[in-house]
Every structure is written in C-alpha cells, then in structure tokens.
Symmetry: C2
Subunit: 338 residues, 2 copies
C-alpha cells in the first residue's frame, strides 16, 4: 500500500481541532505533502495552509483526497459522498482513517472502479499477513513504547527520525496507526490486524535493510494497558528492536480510559518491555525516556528533564523541544558513521 502524494486535506465541517487531529498531524509533520485544505461551509478548523477547491488542487498536482476529520461514530457523512465521488471522477484517490470503510459505500466503490482510482481504508488492513517467523532481520530498529496509550509515541518517533536524518543517519519512520500512515504514505494499522498475525505484520512493515539503516517504528498501547497490551506485545516481538524509547506523560492520573488502573512506574515499565523484547532481540537496550511536558510552564521544562536524567540515568527528552541527547546516545552506542 502506497498512498500517492501530494494530498488535499478534507476537513468537512469540523468544529474543533481535536476532530481534525489526523489532518493536523499530516500538515504538521509533512507540510510538503499537503497541497491545501478543503473546508465545507461552517468548518471552524484552519490548518493555515491554502484553501483549495477539488479542481484547483487537482490542477496543481494533488493526487489523493485525505479524509482528515473524525465525526462522532467514525462514519462518513452522507453529505460528503457527492464531494468524494466528484474527487474520484476528477482523478483523485481517496484515503480515510475512519471506522466506516470507503469500500463499503456502494456509490464510492462503483465510481472508483469506473475511474480506476484507489480507495484506501487505512484502519482496515487489506493485505494477507503471515505468522511471524522470529528470524533476525538485517538493519537496525528502534521502537517507541509507553507507560500508557496516547503518551507521545508517534510524535517521539517522528521527531527522532527527523533529527536522526539531520545528523546524517539513514532512517525511515514506520507507521502503525492511521495518522502515521498518512504521514508516511504507507504502513499498517496494527491494532486492526487479526491477533494471530500482529507480530508477522510488524515483521513485514520493517523488512531487511542496510546494516547501518534505522527503522523508527511507531509504538502502540502499553504492556500495562489491560485493553491493548496484546497489540503492544506483538509489535515488540515483530519489531525485534535494537533500541526502545519509553514514552511517558507525567500528569496522567490513571491509565487512559480506566480510572481503576494506576500507571506503572517508569522503571518497571522499562524492565518489562526489555524483558519482552529480548525474546526476539537479546541485545535490545533502552536508549532514553521521552516526556510529554506540554502541561508544564515553559520555564520548568528543561530543569524537569535534567532532574529526570539524574533520577533514571537515561537520556531524557521532550520531543517538542528536541531529541538530540537520544540521537547522540544512538551514535555512541551503535558507532554509526554519519
């Protein structure tokens, strides 16, 4: 699956940034892939990129219309369908991260077939995956893991991949969730894979590579989240990471969505993730901790990170500032020639 770029980002009549967070993520991380935004009357979100009609963006070279908005229930609004059909007729592919599938809407499916366009439902993997082999692959891999869901694993992965590239590493970001997939234009929505094939799908996502090449694999869930730990473990085993980064949100009172579950300590979370990862890569190391300090006053953030480094004895970063102490650690640990 390779989604053609550049994109036109469809925002519908989104009322707040949260409902357009997929589009926001794409525009933030890959502005060069975003030709513009398409907003319906009443839309209250503005990604500060050019407003373009379907025709204008297509003439400028846009290839795919991305549904970058989620309404309640994750469905495709009936009012959108004529617009999506028109896009197909013009020559766009369509891509969506919603629960409801483009491929399940007869009008869209027929129009796409007629005009030989693709419909990408990135939340619903269409590939047939194999069972994992556990065989060691060439190249290097880093996986972001977390004390909980939604603690900055995607953000950390993208910031690190960007900073490593700047420092001369050969590096790819490997996406495992829908926003990440639009950013990378490929990937696997790993929590939607049949459980038997989670580790196998992850092996496919990050194939053999040059010995000095790094795949930075976007993590999902947490080994300590009772709803999603299965996804996390399959991702760990299939990634065979040489390195992990522990991601943490210091202000979270309990596991996301589960007031009856406390967060684990960072130390025990690192321990259990390393133990799990050693099954398929005995040499795995933790190379740092990533903190989401966005709720702290700016003046306190750097001293917080310094204190955490002293406490945990790992490089500690906030990826919204930079990831350099981890990039340096990778350079030293793996003697990478950059």
């Amino acid at each position: 699956m390779q989604i053609q770029t550049p994109y036109l980002l469809f925002l519908g009549d989104a009322q707040d940034l949260l409902s357009a967070k997929t589009a926001f993520g794409i525009a933030y991380w890959r502005p060069e892939k975003c030709m513009g935004q398409l907003r319906l009357p009443g839309c209250k979100v503005d990604l500060k990129i050019q407003d373009l009609s379907l025709e204008e963006a297509f003439q400028k070279g846009a290839k795919t219309l991305i549904i970058g908005v989620a309404n309640r229930g994750g469905i495709i609004s009936p009012e959108w369908i004529p617009i999506l059909q028109k896009a197909l007729v013009l020559g766009y592919d369509l891509a969506s991260g919603l629960h409801q599938r483009l491929n399940d809407i007869v009008e869209l499916k027929e129009t796409a077939q007629l005009h030989k366009r693709f419909l990408f439902d990135v939340r619903h993997p269409q590939e047939d995956f194999q069972v994992a082999t556990g065989l060691k692959r060439t190249g290097k891999r880093l996986l972001t893991v977390g004390t909980d869901c939604s603690v900055g694993k995607m953000f950390t992965s993208l910031a690190l991949a960007r900073d490593m590239k700047e420092k001369g590493f050969s590096v790819d970001f490997r996406a495992t969730g829908q926003t990440g997939i639009f950013i990378a234009s490929s990937g696997v929505s790993i929590d939607a894979v049949i459980s038997d094939f989670v580790a196998g799908a992850t092996e496919t996502l990050s194939p053999n590579n040059q010995e000095n090449h790094w795949d930075i694999i976007e993590g999902q869930g947490s080994l300590f989240h009772p709803s999603f730990a299965a996804v996390t473990l399959g991702l760990i085993h299939g990634s065979q990471p040489d390195a992990i980064i522990m991601c943490h949100e210091p202000n979270r009172p309990h596991m996301r969505g589960l007031p009856h579950f406390m967060l684990p300590s960072i130390e025990e979370c690192i321990d259990l993730n390393l133990k799990a990862a050693r099954l398929t890569n005995p040499n795995v190391e933790c190379v740092g901790i990533s903190f989401n300090t966005s709720l702290m006053p700016v003046s306190e953030r750097l001293s917080f990170l310094e204190n955490m480094e002293k406490k945990y004895n790992y490089p500690c970063i906030d990826p919204t500032i930079d990831t350099m102490s981890i990039v340096d650690r990778l350079k030293q640990s793996y003697k990478v020639a950059c």
Copy 2:
C-alpha cells in the same frame, strides 16, 4: 453463538487421524454429543462410533453436521458441497473449523438462507467485540498457559473441568479454539479476533458468575512464542485468572515451528505469566504444572511426576492420568464447599 447438538461428524475421505483430529477431539470428550460419523468411500479414519447416513442421523435427532476434518490448505473440497447442501435441505445446521468459510460458498449460503439453517464458521468470529474494560468480574477463573504451543492446554482444561465437576465444583469449560468450540458448542476462536479486541473478547467469553463458580479457560500459544505471544497476553488480561496451570511437553527440542528458538524454563515461564496476569488480577496464583508424558514408557510416568513435584514445588499432573492433585489444591486454596 450456540451450536445445536447432537452432532453428526463428517470425516470426508480423511486418510489419517491427524487430519481428523477435530472430529477425534469431539468424539473423545463429548461422545454423548456425537450421534455418529459420516465417512466417504476411501476414508481411512474410524472414530469407533456409529456409521450413519445423513438421513439416518437426522431421523435419530442429529442437529448439526460438523466438518471435523482438515485437508491441505484448509479448504472445503468441491466434492463435499452437494453433501453439505443435502444436509441443509434435510434440516441440519453446518459447522466448520476450516480457514475457508462456509459463508463464502454461494451454493451453501443460498441453500442455508432458503431453508433457514445456520452456517457456523467457528474459526472466523462473527460477533462485534468491545475493547476490554479490565473491570473485575464475579466468579472464579482458571487459565491454562504453556511453555509453547500445542503442549496440552485444551486437554488439561477439559480434564480438569471434568474432574472438578466429579468432585462437586460448579464449573464450565470455556473454549478459545475451534476443536474446543465444537466440544463446548460455543466459544470464541481467539486468535482470529482483531488484536484490539482480544482481551475484550475474552472478557465476554467468561462473564460474571456465581462466586463459587469456576470458568476453566482454554489457553492459546505462549508468552515465549514469538509468533503468538500477543494472543496469549490478551487472553491472560481478559481472563483475569485467579489461577493458572503451566502446561509443558518435556521432550520438545525447540519452540514449535521455530528451530532457532529454545523453550523457556518452566520457572521463568510461570514467573512471566504470573507477572502479566497480576495486571488484571493481583491475587493470581499458579496452582500446578501439567506435563504431557505420552512419549514416556508407562512405568516411568508416575515417578517422573513425583520428581517434578519435588523440583518445582507445585502439584504436577499428566492430564491423561488424572488432575486430582490440582483439584485438591483448588479446594484447599479457595475453600470451596463441594
């Protein structure tokens, strides 16, 4: 999903017992559910139950024709289709544990609709599961876990449930694989569930119950199997087991299908399973070890189990002999009034 009994077991032209192991398992554990066997010319397997035609078995009261045989590729042979159609017309439901779905064969689907019969593809869950809540449920649960795949988790679960029932426990076997599902007439093929919902599906499988009631949940895979550990972890978290039994096959040279992966030690496997299970049930205990000693001379099996009890300090059983030392342990530990 509730499969109607009694069954007629369809063996096709199976050439060996291995290809008919699903039918064998049903006839072994639930002879009272099996009206008879239906064999095609050339079939070399005999389950030592009555040979009956479709008509004969139906007249005697059979409700479901079970495809209890797997040929290469897990497909439904074209020669079977007229027989399966005839069964539907007579009034049977059909149930299959094969990869290929009965529901994907147009002739069968149409015939079933016309005659208002059910097609059960037990390897492909049709329910919509929810994400796990991690909320504690009432009643007691025991989960079989293993050092590897195919080490006797289903067999141990069934033997234990039988022996507990004999000793007056209130107990249900909860099936998580296709043979188990036919035996129980219900269950969830857990490795075929979307990874996000594995723990949630397991919660559904074993709902709130009387405080003294035990669900004996059939385990799958192993936390140490790099292909399937994700399934195992979701099953552990969703089961919220009060007790686990570790299952082990003493003669296995390496992890099943993976010559490059050694088996874990029994101790470390118990440790990791307890650690994982404590997330959703802090009081979980290991109540015994189940050994498959079928490859040992009969004269050595009991002394082997005695030695293992001394070595590991847990009740050690071979479920093909009996499970009584574990039943006794459960009685003592949980002060069950039987």
